[in-house]
């Protein structure tokens, strides 16, 4: 067992999968000699060479579109979009092509690609280096969407994503790259897609989160514990396919549900969880399904006063828990 930062775990996962499977390639902007702007691919170019670690032109649609074609012809591409904010030029390739390839060909063709993209705010990245993009993609049948929150999960889920036969979007919260550390086993292991984790057991309120918010939710649970509120925290880890059972089992036990997400509140991914809980656990609820989420402005503003205003933090989540617990 070794301690790794979030980004070290991702880098190890990439390297080990590339060693294991010669059909894997990495492609994206600056992923080669530079090793990526966050150094997620550092060292891969030296080990695997320019044929398998490809610095592309600044062409996000090409990064995804060529990955689709390469996957059809026997490779297993791992594409990097430098910031999730810049994934939109590839939206058509992801939604119209990658997501539908299997369905539209009636299973004649598949699309085993992984698209990694750093997302999230709190890093002075402003409007175009801070966004949460997951809701655009979780809406789309045919895509899988993963948001890990620990080094262990990042490595294990990344392995599963690369080995998956369908397109997987793998969103990595960039604020966690170097600030989050954790134990990672030495041997090969995977974390299956589609399984949530109960990261703290509790009895009175269920808090559901992912990414950086999974950490903040735990911190908030500690705070309200001092007020005598027992919180169960679920890190859903895979947004699509969603592990409904773990969520519903918990809410049926606690009777209260708070969904936490960093993205804009309106139409965000957490709204879907709220709807599922309302539909399927209504009889067990002892209060409204609530959401703690980002404000509805078009992006995270740059100035630190404004950015702090935008970002959820453990105290705001704790306040929401207290409000819900009071029902």
């Amino acid at each position: 067992m070794a301690t790794r930062t979030f980004i070290e775990a991702i880098r190890e996962g990439l390297r080990e999968e590339m060693r294991r499977d010669a059909s894997t390639i990495v492609l994206g902007e600056d992923v080669g000699v530079k090793g990526g702007v966050f150094l997620a691919t550092d060292g891969l170019f030296a080990e695997f060479g320019e044929e398998r670690v490809i610095d592309t032109p600044l062409t996000e649609s090409l990064i995804v579109g060529a990955s689709i074609g390469a996957a059809v012809n026997g490779l297993r591409p791992i594409a990097e979009i430098q910031f999730a904010d810049f994934i939109l030029p590839a939206f058509n390739q992801i939604v119209s092509e990658a997501a539908r390839m299997r369905y539209r060909s009636n299973n004649a063709f598949g699309c085993p690609i992984t698209i990694r993209a750093p997302f999230g705010g709190g890093v002075h990245g402003a409007l175009y280096h801070s966004q949460s993009m997951e809701a655009f993609f979780t809406h789309v049948p045919g895509l899988k969407v993963v948001v890990p929150s620990t080094p262990y999960d990042a490595k294990g889920l990344l392995r599963s994503a690369i080995r998956d036969e369908d397109p997987v979007l793998f969103f990595e919260h960039k604020k966690m790259y170097r600030s989050v550390r954790g134990d990672v086993p030495d041997g090969e292991y995977t974390v299956p897609l589609g399984q949530a984790a109960v990261t703290r057991a509790g009895s009175q309120v269920t808090v559901i989160a992912y990414g950086l918010m999974a950490h903040y939710a735990l911190a908030a649970a500690d705070r309200v514990d001092e007020d005598g509120i027992s919180v169960e925290v679920i890190d859903i880890r895979t947004l699509r396919p969603l592990d409904r059972r773990t969520i519903l089992d918990s809410v049926r036990k606690t009777g209260k549900c708070l969904v936490v997400y960093e993205d804009n509140k309106f139409g965000g991914y957490g709204a879907e969880i709220a709807a599922i809980v309302a539909e399927e656990a209504f009889d067990y609820l002892d209060g409204p399904v609530m959401r703690a989420a980002g404000p509805d402005v078009p992006g995270v503003p740059y100035n630190h006063v404004l950015e702090d205003w935008f970002m959820l933090d453990p105290e705001r989540i704790a306040e929401a828990i207290r409000t819900l617990a009071a029902y």
Binding site: L62, G69, N92, S96, E97, N106
Partner: protein, 344 residues
């Protein structure tokens, strides 16, 4: 680097073809594919107008370029990444009349999509024909990726992809050609320029007449060829495919074709094309052009033409009747294959 291939086949087709290494049998086989594609396409319209199928998107006028160029690929080994007018292209690369009609009727055994997509969105895993979507030019990037994989895996495969001149204004076209040129990928891109993006003429689409000029920005040869000159199309296709096979990189071919029908069965083209233009365009129909050429060169006889027509009529009748009798997909199957899953 743009070159124009003018029709040098006005003379005896047989001698030119032989100088290119094509036998009379090759020429007759190409003629047969072209005529079959046309007959199937015409049948689609009949079925549509009779209310039997809801939609047709047509390749009429494009078949000469498709047959000429795609004939240079190795079936079952190379790749074809088609678009929705590639009826003749997919027939040339191995799909059958029955398979085309299965797509037209959207039946369960349809290899393109099992009846999930509109007709014209061809694909066949068995023949290395990639599934087609409706957004235009997206397939360029898939062809580039297939070429990239062929390079990395050292398979020796060549990819041909096709699109209209309208689609060549999309960003994916430019991103794809740029990358293919940069990495000398074995990708042959064919712009089938029929002069119209539904109702918008080429003159309103781009500030150039020859779309092949765009190749210059991407470090590859750009070649213009008359799409009614099937042997000329075969020749430029042969040069491009062999160049790609040798590892020398991609080529952009612009085939000047004609669109003999409306954009689709839901389009009324007389609103934007005059009767005179439509009449004039008939002269650019590759089917009679090729037929006359082969008759003049005595590669075909009038009796041979008639015999082929009879065979094709029987084949199209068989395909139509057979496909119509195939089962529709079941409602239960509508949720299958959103993701990978094992099914018998």
């Amino acid at each position: 680097m743009t070159t124009t291939t003018t029709s040098e086949t006005g003379g005896p087709a047989g001698s030119l073809a032989r100088s290119l290494g094509l036998t009379d049998e090759d020429l007759v086989a190409m003629y047969r594919r072209l005529a079959l594609a046309r007959a199937i396409d015409e049948r689609m319209w009949v079925l549509n107008r009779a209310g039997r199928v809801p939609f047709v998107i047509s390749g009429q006028g494009h078949e000469g370029a498709q047959v000429g160029i795609v004939s240079n690929l190795r079936p079952g080994f190379d790749w074809l990444v088609p678009f929705y007018r590639s009826v003749a292209g997919v027939l040339t690369f191995g799909m059958s009349a029955r398979e085309i009609m299965l797509a037209q009727y959207a039946k369960a055994p349809d290899p393109s999509s099992g009846g999930r997509q509109m007709p014209g969105h061809y694909g066949s895993a068995a023949h290395n024909i990639l599934s087609t979507s409706s957004p235009v030019a997206t397939q360029l990037l898939h062809a580039v990726g297939i070429g990239l994989a062929a390079r990395i895996r050292r398979t020796g495969q060549v990819v041909v992809t096709a699109l209209g001149e309208g689609a060549s204004n999309q960003g994916d076209f430019h991103e794809g050609l740029n990358f293919a040129g940069l990495h000398h990928l074995p990708v042959v891109t064919v712009i089938e320029n029929n002069g119209w993006a539904i109702s918008v003429p080429a003159a309103k689409q781009a500030p150039i007449v020859d779309f092949a000029e765009r190749a210059a920005g991407y470090g590859m040869p750009g070649v213009v060829v008359d799409g009614a000159d099937v042997i000329g199309c075969w020749r430029v296709g042969h040069e491009a495919v062999e160049r790609a096979r040798r590892g020398e990189g991609p080529t952009l071919i612009e085939a000047k074709v004609t669109r003999l029908t409306a954009h689709s069965s839901d389009d009324q083209q007389t609103k934007y094309r005059t009767a005179e233009e439509l009449e004039r365009e008939r002269l650019r129909d590759p089917l009679p052009c090729f037929r006359e050429q082969l008759l003049e060169a005595s590669v075909l006889t009038p009796e041979g033409v008639a015999a082929i027509a009879t065979e094709i009529a029987a084949e199209v009748n068989d395909a139509t009747e057979w496909a119509e009798q195939q089962p529709d997909p079941t409602v239960a199957s509508a949720t299958w294959y959103v993701y990978a899953e094992d099914r018998p």
